[in-house]
């Protein structure tokens, strides 16, 4: 528990901002941020040269898919590693003690870590999305004009707006992942455990729809109960990377995007609240 009694201390957004900015600066100095951002950007640009490897889709579609893949993969790694380092590092090195010895609530500490880690991941998302948009623009310049061998030739439209929507939704998803990893970190006794569990949670969330299927169509009560429990406890990460969101930016697609963002933010609030609750009860 804190050396200073914080029972009468009111929750201060200002202290959260200070803690978040410190966490953000701490995280951007880490090599994992620089390494993943650089690697993702190089992969996105490199996908322009890998178009020869694409056999099924349009060239720009391949670049967009590849860039999105780089964003998802390296963003996930960055989110888990950064969050664990920000919280677990302080716990392992005992540097959390001088912080909590000041008039700082544990909820402020966790919220500060959350916003700091999320800000880092949002910077990553913005950078990779910007590089992807640039790569798509470059690729579009090199495309030959389409052959009009049909009454309506499907336009090789560059999905700029879709890429932006996709990048924003990945940012929301990573925020949710930060909150989930903070919940794990709030009771984990080692960084290794927190990281391993974080990646396990990531895989479960990506495959959550299988649990939902088992819930609805499973054989036997055990499969249905287990599927239902997993399907309700874990959010569905597949929702955030759907092609239905990035293929078009008409009203319906944007409304669905908004619905998915709301879903992610609501889950984030729940996981963050649980992380705060769990951390308040932790012996440090």
């Amino acid at each position: 528990m804190s050396a200073v009694g914080t029972g009468s201390l009111r929750f201060s957004p200002h202290r959260v901002v200070v803690l978040a900015s410190h966490a953000f600066l701490d995280a951007v100095r880490q090599r994992v941020f620089q390494f993943t951002t650089l690697l993702a950007a190089v992969l996105v640009v490199g996908s322009l040269g890998l178009r020869e490897l694409d056999f099924g889709g349009a060239e720009l579609k391949f670049v967009a898919d590849f860039g999105h893949g780089a964003l998802v993969l390296f963003g996930s790694v960055l989110t888990i590693v950064t969050t664990v380092q920000l919280l677990g590092g302080e716990l392992e090195n005992r540097t959390v003690l001088p912080v909590l010895a000041r008039p700082v609530r544990r909820s402020e500490f966790i919220c500060g870590k959350f916003f700091g880690a999320w800000a880092v991941v949002l910077v990553f998302c913005a950078a990779v999305t910007a590089v992807l948009l640039g790569a798509l623009w470059l690729g579009a310049q090199a495309l030959p004009p389409p052959l009009a061998d049909a009454p309506q030739v499907p336009a090789a439209a560059v999905p700029y707006a879709g890429v932006l929507v996709g990048g924003a939704l990945q940012g929301v998803k990573f925020g949710l992942l930060v909150a989930m990893v903070l919940l794990v970190g709030s009771y984990a006794r080692s960084n290794l455990f927190a990281q391993a569990t974080g990646f396990l949670v990531l895989v479960i969330c990506h495959l959550q729809y299988l649990a939902r299927d088992a819930w609805q169509t499973g054989h036997g009560w055990l499969e249905r109960f287990g599927g239902g429990l997993i399907g309700l406890v874990f959010p569905n990460f597949q929702l955030f990377g759907g092609e239905y969101l990035t293929a078009g930016t008409d009203g319906a697609a944007l409304a669905l995007g908004g619905r998915v963002a709301l879903y992610g933010l609501a889950y984030t609030a729940v996981f963050l609240a649980l992380a705060v609750w769990s951390f308040r009860r932790r012996e440090i």
């Binding site: 590849f66 049909a150 092609e243």
Partner: protein, 271 residues
């Protein structure tokens, strides 16, 4: 946080874990109305990975790539695997790889089209060769193998409609299989008609439909079809792919064959 009873702090860790689980289940139920419509829209446009099809068929690298979002790249690599099996005339390997490609990324139409061509046009020859060769087999057996593979190829293409409803190239590919492998002109004509109704169908789909009607002895239907088609085509000078002049020439041929009176004949530009 104050909403959570303070007394729970003294309860064992298991109770706390249970409470967390309860909160998450309640959140899952509350957020279900947000999730369900979005998931339904997702499955309609981009089907979920069919993990049951992929189970055990791929290495950890592929699984990681798929979870990481490199679905298109994973499908491309599997397509390479399908082609490598195809070059070795490996029947089961080719079929398995084609199934995997469809399960990993059903979005590119080219995978479905080329996969169906392998199944319908190449695999029958491998099977016949494995049975002893065409010369050693009765003609009925050879024909049976060709027809069986053609039906398998059509079934493969039919699966693609779930992801590409009414895609004209899928209809055309089925039509070609019906025509060349199953000698079903009537079915092929219908498929070309369905293809030509799609706005992105190539111009030739409508012309081939009329030609198949003519071959079936339905000259009047072919004539009516071409007369309806011609005004919708751009002039030959504007778009040679549309072949408006060729369509007009075929209309004239059919008018001769049908012995239409000059007053009943088609006049371009006159509705």
């Amino acid at each position: 946080m104050r909403l959570i009873p303070t007394g729970i702090r003294s309860l064992p860790a298991l109770t706390r874990a249970g409470a967390m689980l309860g909160v998450l289940v309640a959140a899952g139920l509350a957020l279900r109305p947000l999730e369900a419509p979005a998931w339904a829209a997702q499955v309609r446009q981009q089907p979920a990975l069919e993990w049951r099809c992929l189970e055990g068929a791929m290495g950890q690298g592929f699984s990681l790539g798929l979870l990481g979002g490199f679905r298109a790249l994973a499908a491309d690599l599997l397509w390479l695997r399908a082609n490598a099996s195809w070059e070795r005339n490996d029947l089961s390997g080719t079929q398995a790889a084609l199934r995997l490609v469809g399960a990993v990324d059903p979005r590119p139409v080219a995978f479905w089209l080329n996969g169906a061509r392998m199944i319908g046009y190449d695999l029958p020859y491998w099977r016949i060769e494995a049975l002893g060769g065409e010369a050693a087999l009765p003609a009925t057996v050879v024909r049976h193998v060709h027809e069986e593979q053609a039906r398998a190829a059509i079934a493969h293409l039919e699966k693609a409609f779930a992801h590409h409803p009414d895609h004209p190239l899928l209809h055309i590919e089925i039509a070609n299989l019906l025509l060349q492998k199953l000698d079903d002109r009537s079915g092929a004509a219908e498929r070309y008609r369905l293809a030509s109704l799609q706005p992105t169908a190539p111009f030739y789909a409508a012309r081939v439909h009329a030609e198949l009607l003519r071959q079936l002895g339905r000259e009047r239907d072919a004539y009516d079809w071409l007369v309806a088609l011609h005004p919708t085509l751009p002039p030959e000078r504007a778009n040679p792919h549309a072949m408006a002049d060729t369509v007009l020439a075929r209309i004239r041929e059919l008018e001769e064959k049908l012995a239409l009176a000059p007053a009943d004949r088609y006049q371009p530009g006159r509705e």
